[in-house]
Symmetry: none
């Protein structure tokens, strides 16, 4: 934690999560609350409509595979009731992804299950930012001389442009967003990898190792930004010691 990113609003973001799988819905709600949002869950389509009517969410996460009134039905009724609240859809991998794709034009977005929590949160932030107003300011994360532009996906150490793979990008973004907090490997794993990822192993170490090489290489004088906290995890921050 630390600085409040500039796209964060003053009042709390109100999020409605709709998924018939309670663990998933609760997972998302919990992460959102941890970000300081207000989150409400619904496990059925009917409940979703009820909650939406009372709660007036700023944004909705909507699973398309619901028993009873399905996701499309919920969407239609939401829209019919006149609300323009942006929606981020969840869909099974080989499910209705195609149909969904057609819905994302407005500024809505969608994600394929199983997703990674950070990825979902990133999309929510993007959608909120876009729908916030005409003056859609860039979202740039900064830690020391390291910058990450979330629109252009450009990551720079000073002036030097880094070329990161998707996984590296996600891990670094999470580290940057939480800087100067120390994160455990488990936290990183839980946020950046899809939920249910079997990945026992040392994937996190490995990605961090690859990141370090890219962040610090070529930079003779440059002090390392990623620090190991032995027995606990990693931090991203300026020298500090």
């Amino acid at each position: 934690m630390g600085r409040v990113p500039q796209y964060e609003r003053v009042e709390k973001v109100r999020l409605l999560v709709v998924d018939d799988d309670p663990p998933i819905a609760d997972l998302v709600a919990t992460v959102a609350r941890y970000e300081g949002w207000e989150a409400v869950t619904a496990y059925t389509g009917e409940d979703a409509l009820r909650r939406a009517a009372e709660f007036h969410p700023d944004i909705v996460v909507l699973d398309l595979m619901l028993p009873g009134v399905d996701g499309f039905g919920v969407l239609d009724r939401l829209r019919a009731s006149g609300t323009m609240v942006p929606v981020v859809f969840l869909t099974a991998r080989d499910g209705v992804a195609d149909r969904v794709a057609g819905l994302t034009r407005g500024g809505d977005d969608y994600l394929v299950k199983p997703f990674a929590v950070e990825e979902l949160m990133a999309r929510l932030r993007t959608v909120l930012r876009r729908s916030a107003g005409p003056a859609f300011q860039r979202s740039v994360l900064r830690v020391g001389d390291l910058t990450m532009d979330e629109d252009t996906r450009e990551v720079r150490r000073g002036a030097r442009l880094l070329s990161l793979t998707p996984t590296e990008y996600e891990v670094l973004r999470y580290l940057m967003r939480k800087s100067p907090a120390v994160l455990t490997k488990a936290q990183i794993l839980d946020h950046v990898w899809e939920y249910g990822f079997g990945g026992r192993s040392n994937v996190v170490e490995l990605v961090v190792s690859r990141l370090r090489r890219k962040l610090d290489e070529t930079d003779e004088g440059g002090s390392p930004l990623i620090h190991t906290v032995r027995g606990f995890g990693y931090v991203l921050r300026q020298a500090a010691e």
Copy 2:
């Protein structure tokens, strides 16, 4: 995202969308809002007239197939009330296209359903530009040595004139308008293809591939402008390094 395109006005554009199919009307309204416009929807002819009277739109999107007072009726009464607000008509493919053509006097325009969102927005911008003032300033997009004149549809790489197909033109325009942001294939698909397009596959990849050949061929020294961001999407921009 980022810079304000040069044709954007200082005050917000006020758009009235009239379509009896709420999802379509909302879709258009949402996209317009993301462009920073103010948008209001109406689902019936009567409502349209009411809203027009209160809201004083700068431009109207009007479906001709309305229950009750149909599009022509709405148009007549609008004109009868003395307003000269430009109108962009929507019509079914084999509907009354001919009759419509006769109506598009002045700066009006029309589009056949199902349309592509970017195409509609482009027409709206054009109509606004034309009706804006006597000196209709050209709208020229520019990225590096690539230019696109939206009036003449001329696209040039440096001095070399490119010959693009309609689809290629639309994809390139979207990339140029959003440059230097990275766009996912889903975004491109959703904006450039007609809504409801069952867009399986790799159409976007294919068009990009064809675009690349036209943009970069023949240019010995010319550095490529379209870049792949693996695992994410495409960007149009100068080398960047």
